[in-house]
Symmetry: none
Amino acid sequence: MAYRILIVDDEPILTELLSTHLQDHGYAVSVANSSDEALAKLNTKPNLILLDINMPGMDGLELCKVIRNHIVCPILFLTARITEQDKVNGLRAGGDDYITKPFGLQELIARIEAHLRRDERHNRPPEVVTSQGLIINLSNRKVFWNEQELSFSKREFDIIEFLSSNPNQVFDKERIYEAVWGYDAEGDSNVIKEHIRKIRAKLMQASGSEYIETVWGMGYRWKK
Amino acid sequence: MAYRILIVDDEPILTELLSTHLQDHGYAVSVANSSDEALAKLNTKPNLILLDINMPGMDGLELCKVIRNHIVCPILFLTARITEQDKVNGLRAGGDDYITKPFGLQELIARIEAHLRRDERHNRPPEVVTSQGLIINLSNRKVFWNEQELSFSKREFDIIEFLSSNPNQVFDKERIYEAVWGYDAEGDSNVIKEHIRKIRAKLMQASGSEYIETVWGMGYRWKK
DNA sequence: TTCGATCTTGACGGAATTTTGACTTTCTCC
DNA sequence: GGAGAAAGTCAAAATTCCGTCAAGATCGAA
């Protein structure tokens, strides 16, 4: 499943550029052009946040402290400032790294990857999801119904992973698309319908029960 | 077997001195006079790294972060800087200790020994991996199927070592490339396919069974 | 330097997966 | 009950990924 990155910067040109570039590298990107917007988008549960320090209203440092109260993930500051004092302030506020503008996109990707990996090591998400006799092992990507192993393709498993890790929550197709593919669906999102169908068929065949529920007009929900 | 220590410093006089001194104390020493050289020498799997912070190009802190993505071993910074901020940076980069220049050679040896001891206790990797009749000896890099010794090239063994040390986990080609070659693959990572093919052929010929499983779209997994 | 082994590259075919588009069914709201 | 939107189904096309081979590059020992 693609990592989700939240970009917070009041400079639309920059966010647009970054967004495109990160998407090209397979990340799912959300953009917030203000602190308020950023807070609103925290519910997308980003795996990493890129945060501009200089913003009108609540600035990046302030925002960083607030974010730290809500979720745990690496926060990288984007900044033109480079003084020692700024770094200290940033670290105090709870930031994990500094990237000074202008920066190379290569470097940015490298840092992001390093942090995501480190985060992965320290902050391991639950490895196994169980659900009425079904065992979904996220680390080796295997699914069992009792003794029997069920086989899913990459996309199928990605969808299962996403939904089953957030049980009882409804996600619309766009959100699923974003989480699994790493970017927004363009036109018709029939793809998801099709994958859901395959998943359901396999699960039904093995277990005889429905795990994915359709919430009409809203999306899908993993029943637990 | 002697402990291997990697010294990274752009000051030849210093590295020469240290090298001699450490060798006198029974250590196997490699020297790198630049960050690039250091990365190249990671495959010697040092048991401990002495790292200068001030270097041209990628500095010690940066290098430390990179190293941390590849191997686990104590990293001691050699530095003239002593500010609090530097310590924070160093520790955050993944360093284990600081030694400020100028330092006494006695003190250096003492610290090295302390860290090696600690490392030994906590973090001793298994020397031998066994897997359905197959014996993989990581310390002398030999592989046996029952009585018969199988021969693998360096790259081949490196891949076997990495995968078999993390059984049942799926690694994509990039991750394998990074673990074995020590840096990112640039373009096509066909190399891995080819090596995997060779490995499989040898293992299959000797044992008649598959050890490396392909997870379509995801990578490879060592079956255990 | 030469030779052999190892490592790397590029191309290709086939297999598995993913996506598409047309169509049917189901649901909601009037 | 009917229109329209949303979801489900199916088969076929498009794409991606893997395994394989052959040949060129590189490395290391003699």
